[in-house]
């Protein structure tokens, strides 16, 4: 689905990723774990084309082409979605209007009919109730004044309606209480269809308990140093990352 080869990436003058290789398989849940500052967020930003990250070497192959030079919105339209750690607040931009614009951009890109307001609202109501979100959040400004939990649910809501192929969840579990965590996890699980790929970045196993990870990758010193099955999580929780050296 998505193949990263020898990726080198900087943020400002700091070299963060230094020859990272990673293959994301269709229909699988990949988990990235690693110490603070290892480059986990830089990796997700590099995949979606964030302006902070400068890729100096290497490639990210997706759907048959290298997307390193592709603008962010084209990557999004091709099906790459990232939930932000801190979703940006945009005052004055109505949430429903934003969601509909994003959804219609995607439908148009796929050569499908765009949704009118009524059809859109019907879709939204259904998704909102599945996330236990109040409908009034549609009429609020985008993320403005949302609580931490509301912001994360709003991210999942966008994922549900945009139906991306590659889903990157950057610390989606941070700042969530148990109920919110469950709702978010259910949202994620409902997207599993055997074809979509998930890249989950987290520090804790509690989210992983609700998901069914296929691979655990350890990112350290700007590289993937270890890849194993879900059993690795227990070991990491007990022993930390110090014992992991380059294989």
């Amino acid at each position: 689905m998505l193949t990263i080869k020898n990726l080198h990436a900087n943020i400002g003058d700091n070299k963060i990723l230094q020859g990272l290789d990673l293959t994301l398989e269709a229909g699988k849940v990949h988990v990235i774990m690693g110490p603070n500052g290892a480059g986990k967020s830089t990796l997700s930003k590099a995949i979606v084309g964030h302006y902070d990250v400068e890729v100096t070497e290497g490639s990210i192959d997706y759907k048959g082409k290298d997307i390193v030079k592709l603008p962010a919105e084209e990557r999004a339209l091709e099906g790459i979605f990232m939930s932000f750690q801190n979703p940006t607040e945009i005052p004055g931009v109505n949430n429903a209007y934003f969601l509909r614009t994003a959804l219609n951009a995607k439908l148009k890109h796929e050569g499908k009919e765009e949704l009118n307001a009524a059809e859109f609202l019907r879709v939204m109501r259904e998704k909102l109730s599945s996330l236990e979100m109040k409908t009034d959040m549609l009429s609020r400004s985008l993320n403005e004044g949302f609580s931490g939990g509301e912001k994360k649910r709003n991210e999942i809501l966008q994922m549900l309606i945009l139906k991306p192929d590659v889903i990157i969840l950057d610390e989606i579990d941070s700042g969530l209480d148990i109920d919110a965590l469950k709702a978010v996890a259910e949202g994620i699980n409902s997207m599993q269809d055997g074809k979509r790929t998930f890249l989950v970045i987290t520090h804790y196993r509690r989210l992983l308990d609700y998901l069914t990870p296929d691979y655990i990758h350890v990112l350290k010193n700007g590289k993937i140093l270890k890849t194993a099955g879900v059993e690795l999580v227990d070991k990491l929780e007990e022993e930390g990352y110090d014992w992991i050296k380059a294989e």
């Binding site: 964030h50 962010a72 005052p91 931009v93 934003f98």
Partner: protein, 477 residues
């Protein structure tokens, strides 16, 4: 974001720059007493009006052009302007309007024809120096509403004109108002009788067409006790290399319990990015809340003109009267706008609200200048002002000059302002969701202007949004 992308995104071509080839009656450029006598004679005005014009002209000659605004422009040669231009064959009914003029208004999307009239908006169309057509007058007459050109009002309602014209903006209020008083050629007159809620939106569309002409219209709206009217104006002009002068005066008067809502969508030709051509827009707009509990609300969307000098104001004389000013001003290319408002609190418990949104792009310079003045008599006055500026690109400027003066020790005045650019984070967030850069800019700008657009009547809000998109239109990098 790359600056050239932004420049493209904010420099769409002016869409209304066509010129209509019709036969006109245009006098030669130049201004002296004879010009004024000519205009007055053309309009078949009564002697009293001519005398007023001549008096204003004498005073104007002794005044000098003000230069306190934060504007740079070439000196205006008042002798090189033609002060009167009218389509030949003045029409009596819609059928008689020159089809080319109808065609022009059709291009502008202005409802002059029968079909558009079904939308229920009464329109007065002013083409160069004269009003070519006022729709719906008869329907309005049933309610006692007078909606006609100012020239007709001078003929048919001299008592109202004599009483109220110059009562809010005195003849010598300022240089441009004095010039207008001497040479105004047409404009709109509205009178809403006691207790009448005007059954439809009233609208005037101003078009400058002829070369080297100035447009000097004068609008007077009187809302008698307990009445309400919503009035809208729009404007455009052909693309030309020369600057053209527009110096209008608008006077509003509300009696006890009356309300006037005045909306403007200003889209005069802005000139090009080197400052060549474009309209010089020097306008005096003022409303007097004369009676208790009356209200005047100004909403403006200013996207056109090379130079804008305009401060729609409210004099809150009646107790409990309310003044409002909502403004979106966009300066791109080499446009300069020095605009804002004056809220003069005289009556007790008066309140005013100011919301100003300035957007500067390319080489545009956007200035908010506002005065909130609270007199000692205005016990318990309230004002809230909010002035935000958005900068797009690093060659433009945004300036905020609020003046607050209060003598009321029971009042509350608050002013807040911020200046920022479109943040990379916001832009990226939208792009990550698949929205193009251009649409993302437009979305953020619309969000920024939302509070003002929500004040416009529905039909005009749609027009204003479309206009903003056009102004910001371009392509994506």
């Amino acid at each position: 974001m790359e600056n050239n992308t932004l420049d493209k995104a904010v420099s769409a071509d002016y869409q209304l720059g066509f010129e209509v080839d019709i036969e006109t009656d245009t006098i030669e450029a130049g201004l002296d007493e004879e010009t004024i006598r000519f205009i007055s004679a053309k309009k078949e005005e009564p002697l009293w009006m001519l005398e007023i014009r001549l008096k204003a002209f004498k005073k104007w000659q002794k005044m000098s052009e003000p230069h306190w605004a934060h504007l740079n422009y070439e000196p205006i040669d008042y002798q090189s302007i033609s002060y009167f231009s009218a389509p030949k064959n003045a029409p009596d009914s819609l059928d008689e309007v020159d089809p080319k003029i109808l065609e022009a208004y059709k291009k502008l999307g202005i409802p002059l024809d029968e079909q558009k009239q079904l939308q229920g908006i009464a329109v007065d169309a002013v083409f160069d120096s004269v009003s070519v057509k006022t729709t719906y007058s008869e329907e309005l007459q049933k309610h006692g509403v007078i909606f006609c050109s100012i020239s007709e009002a001078i003929q048919d309602h001299p008592e109202l004109v004599k009483k109220y014209m110059f009562s809010v903006v005195p003849m010598t209020d300022n240089y441009f108002a004095a010039l207008n008083s001497a040479v105004f050629t047409d404009g709109t007159f509205v009178y809403i009788p006691k207790g009448v809620r005007c059954p439809m939106e009233l609208s005037t569309y101003f078009r400058i067409n002829a070369l080297n002409t100035g447009q000097f219209e004068r609008t007077l709206i009187i809302a008698d006790e307990g009445s309400y009217v919503s009035y809208n104006e729009g404007c455009s002009a052909p693309t030309r290399d020369e600057h053209q002068l527009h110096a209008a005066v608008v006077e509003l008067i509300t009696m006890k319990d009356a309300e006037i809502k005045y909306s403007t969508i200003q889209n005069w030709y802005p000139g090009d990015e080197d400052g060549k051509g474009g309209i010089y827009n020097f306008v005096t707009k003022r409303g007097l809340c004369k009676g208790d509990n009356s209200k005047i609300s100004w909403t403006q969307v200013e996207t056109g003109s090379a130079i804008t000098w305009k401060y729609p104001s409210c004099v809150l004389k009646g107790d409990n009267s309310v003044g409002e000013f909502y403004s979106v001003a966009v300066t791109t290319l080499a446009q300069q706008a020095d605009t804002g408002t004056k809220m003069i609190h005289l009556g007790k418990n008066t309140s005013s609200t100011i919301v100003s949104k300035g957007i500067s792009a390319m080489k545009g310079q956007n200035i908010y200048r506002g005065l909130v003045k609270v007199a000692k008599s205005a016990t318990n006055a309230r004002n809230h002002s909010e002035c935000d500026s958005l900068l797009i690109g690093d060659q433009c400027g945004a300036h905020t000059f609020p003046y607050l003066e209060s003598k009321d020790n029971q009042g509350q005045i608050e002013h807040e302002a911020s200046t920022s650019k479109i943040s990379d984070e916001q832009l990226f967030y939208l792009r990550q969701r698949g929205i193009s850069e251009e649409d993302a800019v437009s979305m953020i700008v619309h969000g920024f202007c939302k509070e003002v657009f929500s004040q416009l009547p529905m039909e005009y809000a749609v027009e204003a949004k479309a206009l903003l998109n056009l102004t910001l239109e371009g392509s994506v990098g």
